[in-house]
Amino acid sequence: MSTEAEQLESLAQQEYKYGFVTDIEADALPPGLNEDVIRIISQKKKEPAFMLEWRLKAYRRWLKMEEPKWPKVEYPEINFQDIIYYSAPKNTPKYNSLDEVDPQLLETYNKLGIPLEEQKMLAGVAVDAVFDSVSVATTFKEKLSEMGVIFCPISEALQEYPDLVKKYLGSVVPATDNFYAALNSAVFSDGSFVYVPKGVRCPMELSTYFRINAQNTGQFERTLIVADEGSYVSYLEGCTAPQRDENQLHAAVVELVALKGAEIKYSTVQNWYPGDDEGKGGIYNFVTKRGIAHENAKISWTQVETGSAITWKYPSVILKGDNSIGEFYSVAMTNKFQQADTGTKMIHIGKNTRSNIVSKGISAGRSNNSYRGLVKVMKSAENARNFSQCDSLLIGDKCGAHTFPYIEVNNTTGRVEHEATTSKIGEDQIFYCNQRGLDTEQAVSLIVNGYCKEVFRELPMEFAVEAQKLLSISLEGSVG
């Protein structure tokens, strides 16, 4: 019995495969944060005046705010004055072709298995690559612009479409929404902006690969996606990071606006460095993601979270319009000393609004994995429907899984259903697979992937394959 447990244990030990640092000379500010730093950021980005005011307002509010303490995660206190708030690769011209891109950067993508060349050829995937904090390569832009779709770095959007950005930035996640969102609003360096015009079905999946690179650089991405009436867009976000010693803070904000009859599908595969065997050095990931769905609109969040030392993340949907739909599909895998406190919020405001939550937690090693979900049905939300399914899978006996569902129903016609299960990966299942010729590592990977099926099938094809690979990688290890 104990050897089986040990085997499972050692399975859960797996070296981070993407631990390498690319040496591109960084143009960075010294560590620390004050109003001047914010001014410099805004200036470097050649931002319109309103943006600086917006940032400063957020900063002043942030100074008065406190870090949230309610998540079930523990970490040493972060000194926000030790963080570098701006760094950019030295040369950031816009390239016309890949030949002009720094070969070292391309090499980095090659190591990650996502070479740009291939992506360019990959049918229908436009890539806005965020390297450190500044975008250095954008493809498929022409095809998109033919249809009026805007997909560009948010810094560029601020210069070229300031009114559009001004109208929606902060409209879903106000600059002062929470501690990390306020910090992000003050110092965000870059991110993506998407606008899909009325009635347009975006012809390709839009995708961004994030990568944190310069030492000790806080990463503050800001993403804003606006789907105008009756439009559709699918957006993919994926990332992986080099191995390092110091903890890295990442506090992104993602805002989605789905106007009347629009649909936004937002998929994430997150694989940031989770820390070493003692849990040191991993990424802290404090993310605010929220969407607003107007009448007959639909927003789906699908996430596969395998990385980071700490994940604090609750992609949410405000179901404002009548008949709007919110969905959340999540796989959160923790291993070693990783801690994840993740879930969703579904706020039903409009009539006949529907939300669906499928959360699959997998805990291995000494990790802790919490689901925290809020379903709120407001008085106005006649006939609101929610269904939540929260499953936890334990691998080994030193990890933890926790579920915190909060349900608040203020309209008697609302119907909210919550189901939760916790199971251990079965020795019977593993033996059954062994007997058919699969080794234990394969068996665990197969069983876990099966367990996550409901979520994976929500991902776009290529992404689903990548997600399965990632999950298998994070489960791999030397079988004793």
């Binding site: 299942q429 062994n434 007997q435 058919r436 010729g437 080794d439 099966g450």
Partner: protein, 245 residues
């Protein structure tokens, strides 16, 4: 092919097998009978390599190798197949995907090329008729929501695809109606060859009307108390086990 010598095994400190001797040759069908709790499944699981059971003494030789030295998956690669008394459900993993993975693992270990989806499907079409398994079960999750009979047929279907050298059927007959029994038996019989062997574990005689054994053993309280020809099964049917005590 298989020689078991003076095998003692226990679980959680309790001795279950108390000295088993058994020899199975290529081409043979052996039946192991005995009342509930006599250790039949224990023996089957030990042959397949289940770790919970501790072999305290004795030896098992399989095709010239010390079987007890091999991991369960290595045993599978070398042709040992156990049809489980209680087949296990694996939610979210499709039956065909599972089986193709299994077959390819076995093939890889033998230095054979892996089969792609199309080649595998061809093979599946040939084998599925053998056990008259409902095709819709192929794309369902492994054993999930299968009826008792469907699970058992699925085991035999897996066996048909994997073509083991030594198949051990642990009470594959229990819970089957006569039609299903006949189908399962047909499956087993049509896979029989002079190069492979089958151990059929059962506590009813009726399966042996369809699968004719060369040797019948009676396992009682962890020991083989009697071995004989197929007529022994009939004798057990009429007299029960008491006379063997």
């Amino acid at each position: 092919m298989l020689q078991i010598k003076d095998l003692h095994a226990s679980i959680e400190g309790k001795e279950i097998l108390k000295g088993i001797d058994l020899e199975v040759k290529k081409g043979e069908v052996h039946a192991i009978m005995g009342p509930n709790g006599s250790g039949k499944s224990t023996l089957a699981n030990i042959l397949a390599g289940r770790e919970e059971y501790e072999v305290t003494s004795g030896s098992i030789n399989y095709l010239g190798e010390d079987l007890l030295e091999l991991d369960p998956e290595e045993r599978a690669h070398k042709g040992i197949f156990l049809a489980f008394q209680y087949p296990v459900e694996i939610p979210g993993v499709s039956n065909v995907y599972f089986l193709r993975t299994a077959l390819n693992e076995v093939r890889k270990s033998q230095g054979l090329e892996e089969l792609d989806a199309a080649q595998f499907l061809k093979l599946v079409r040939r084998k599925i008729d053998l056990v008259e398994l409902d095709k819709s079960l192929l794309n369902r999750a492994v054993n999930e929501g299968f009826s008792g009979g469907e699970k058992k047929r699925n085991e035999i279907f897996q066996m048909a695809v994997l073509e083991p050298k030594l198949a051990i059927l642990d009470e594959t007959d229990s819970g089957l109606d006569i039609d299903a029994l006949r189908i399962v038996a047909n499956g087993v019989n049509s896979l029989k060859s002079k190069d492979n062997a089958t151990i059929v574990v059962t506590h009813y005689q009726r399966l042996l009307d369809y699968i004719v054994p060369d040797v019948v053993h009676v396992l009682f309280k962890g020991k083989i108390v009697k071995s004989g020809g197929k007529e022994l099964a009939l004798e057990l049917e009429s007299k029960g086990y008491d006379w063997l005590k």
